[in-house]
């Protein structure tokens, strides 16, 4: 689809040029810089890394600069158990969290798709409203609930379900609750979109041919919704891998995830090259899901 006649060339150049230029300078170029930083070494100077490019020396300066770059940080990450375990922990928590979000989100999406047309916009708005509310505040809200003397323990004790307060805050359970809570809309909406499009007569046909409702679900509804499931899982898994706020506020001090490691290396240790290396490694892990995500849920196919 295109305009019957193209608009004036100057307008066309501006419309393509403005976002291209902005995203190149402020999104693409920074990745080149982060890549270069990951090959540097930390230094106790200002700025706190080596080597620096010295233009005044001409070619000799450039050669010195290139000779100063090395893969040392990558070797450290691959051999130091601290970093390896942070990556493994992140993958495990992100994968578990994605699965839990799927288990919580699918029934909600199914119910939304089966609701009457009049109710659907209202239900979508209800699912999405918390997403607009500050992420930080939503995670913070769980601290008061999960604390040792928090509301959940008060309820459990009063109901006689436990005899002593449970240790919930600063555990992986708290982190998983935080993940499901904050990322639920990202899972529900793509699945809902896939279910909504389905032709209801397919399930009816299956049932007319003698299928039980449960069997019709497993053999017709679920397989047809798998693209939505994949889209939702990608939209949850990618940001959770780099999550900082949830492990920081709900996970306790020894919950080491990649996002938190980047933060600590940068702000506490002032090791910019190591922070960059971890970020590059994280990006390498996420590259494939991001590309698949763009193919499936690229700009335009995802409606607000």
């Amino acid at each position: 689809m295109r305009m019957p006649q193209r608009g004036p060339d100057r307008g066309r150049i501006a419309i393509i040029g403005l976002p291209s230029l902005w995203l190149t300078v402020f999104f693409l170029v920074p990745f080149v810089i982060i890549l270069r930083m990951s090959l540097s070494d930390p230094a106790s100077a200002q700025p706190p890394y080596r080597p620096l490019l010295d233009w005044s020396q001409g070619w000799a300066g450039i050669r010195l600069f290139i000779e100063g770059l090395d893969l040392e940080n990558y070797a450290t990450i691959l051999t130091d158990p601290l970093y390896a375990s942070a990556f493994l922990t992140s993958v495990r928590i992100a994968a578990t969290g994605t699965l839990l979000t799927l288990l919580a989100g699918y029934p909600i999406a199914l119910a939304m798709a089966r609701a009457s047309r009049r109710w659907q916009p209202f239900l979508i708005a209800l699912i999405f409203l918390p997403f607009w509310t500050s992420f930080l505040i939503r995670v913070y809200a769980w601290i008061a609930i999960l604390e040792q003397d928090g509301l959940l323990n008060q309820v459990l004790l009063a109901a006689g379900l436990v005899s002593a307060p449970l240790m919930l805050l600063n555990t992986e359970i708290a982190v998983q609750i935080g993940i499901v809570y904050t990322y639920l809309p990202f899972m529900v909406l793509p699945i809902y979109a896939a279910l909504e499009k389905q032709d209801g007569s397919l399930v009816e046909a299956a049932q007319d041919l003698g299928s039980t409702p449960a069997r019709a679900f497993w053999q017709v509804t679920l397989p047809l919704s798998l693209p939505g499931v994949l889209g939702g899982c990608i939209l949850v898994f990618i940001p959770v891998m780099g999550e900082f706020i949830i492990p920081d506020l709900l996970g306790g001090s020894d919950m080491l995830m990649v996002g938190r490691l980047v933060w600590t290396e940068f702000f506490s240790n002032r090791d910019w090259p190591m922070a960059s290396t971890i970020a590059v490694m994280l990006l390498a892990i996420l590259a494939l899901p991001i590309v698949i995500g763009q193919r499936r849920a690229g700009v335009g196919s995802m409606k607000p």
Partner: protein, 262 residues
């Protein structure tokens, strides 16, 4: 999809909504707690709200965040709308695939990577960190959200309206100005509001790209949250939730009107 809810469907919806809304509700209720202990109810009071007004640093941060939201949302709307137009209305051009990717990646990129990489850029080009560096960072990721909203509007409206205008003698530029722009305007307004709330909410990217004198509200809240739960934070959170809820209602109404006129 077949309509009609089973008991299982109703249960899923009720439990899902309770899970989503109870924590927020509890937070709001305890912002009116007279007791300083966050988990013990000590009677109704607006004490903590009055305390906010006299909290100088917090008010200053709120002011910075407000300005930041307005400036970055406005720029992001211009860039995001251009991005949406480029990807839906201009046919094929060189680098379209790359631009589509650059328009999608910031949506899912972990904030920690976006923040760190932008900070390193600012240091390399020697830009002093402060209000404007955070604004640039916010424009970069929020413009892609604006593009999603505007683009979904552009692909869903009837192209024959534009074609009819041209057939009736309008130049493509006039058809664009008189037909396309009015139709996408509600989506542009909704995009602005989304960019504004995203900017108002952001902690991680602002923490990396901010400098002295530009502490945003989420940064201020975060530094207090780290010290524990307090009723003041509940009060400021409640105010933020109220602002966002009103904004979202405005967007919903705007988009609804768009649907009925489109």
């Amino acid at each position: 999809m077949k309509r009609g809810l089973t008991r299982f469907n109703v249960t899923s919806l009720v439990l899902g909504m309770a899970f989503l809304y109870l924590p927020i509700l509890i937070l709001v209720i305890y912002s009116f707690n007279a007791s300083r202990l966050v988990t013990v109810w000590g009677g109704f009071s607006t004490h903590w709200y009055r305390g906010l007004l006299s909290n100088g640093p917090l008010m200053q941060s709120a002011w910075i965040s407000l300005q930041l939201g307005i400036v970055s949302a406005t720029l992001a709307t211009i860039i995001g709308a251009a991005l949406a137009l480029a990807l839906t209305r201009l046919g094929p051009f060189r680098g379209r695939g790359l631009l589509a990717f650059l328009g999608f990646a910031p949506l899912v990129m972990p904030e920690i990577i976006t923040g760190l990489s932008l900070l390193l850029l600012f240091i390399v080009i020697g830009l002093d960190r402060g209000f404007w560096t955070v604004a640039i960072a916010h424009v970069t990721f929020t413009s892609c959200f604006v593009a999603v909203i505007v683009q979904s509007r552009l692909v869903s409206f009837d192209r024959s309206l534009e074609e009819a205008a041209v057939d009736l003698g309008a130049t493509p530029a006039a058809a664009f100005r008189l037909v396309t722009i009015p139709i996408v305007l509600p989506a542009i307004a909704a995009g602005w509001m989304l960019a504004f709330t995203l900017s108002l909410d952001d902690l991680v990217i602002a923490s990396f790209t901010s400098g002295p004198g530009a502490t945003t509200l989420p940064m201020r809240i975060y530094s207090q949250v780290r010290l524990g739960v307090t009723p003041e934070i509940n009060a400021i959170s409640t105010l933020l939730i109220a602002i966002v809820t009103v904004t979202v209602l405005a967007i919903t109404i705007t988009l609804k009107r768009e649907n009925s006129t489109g």
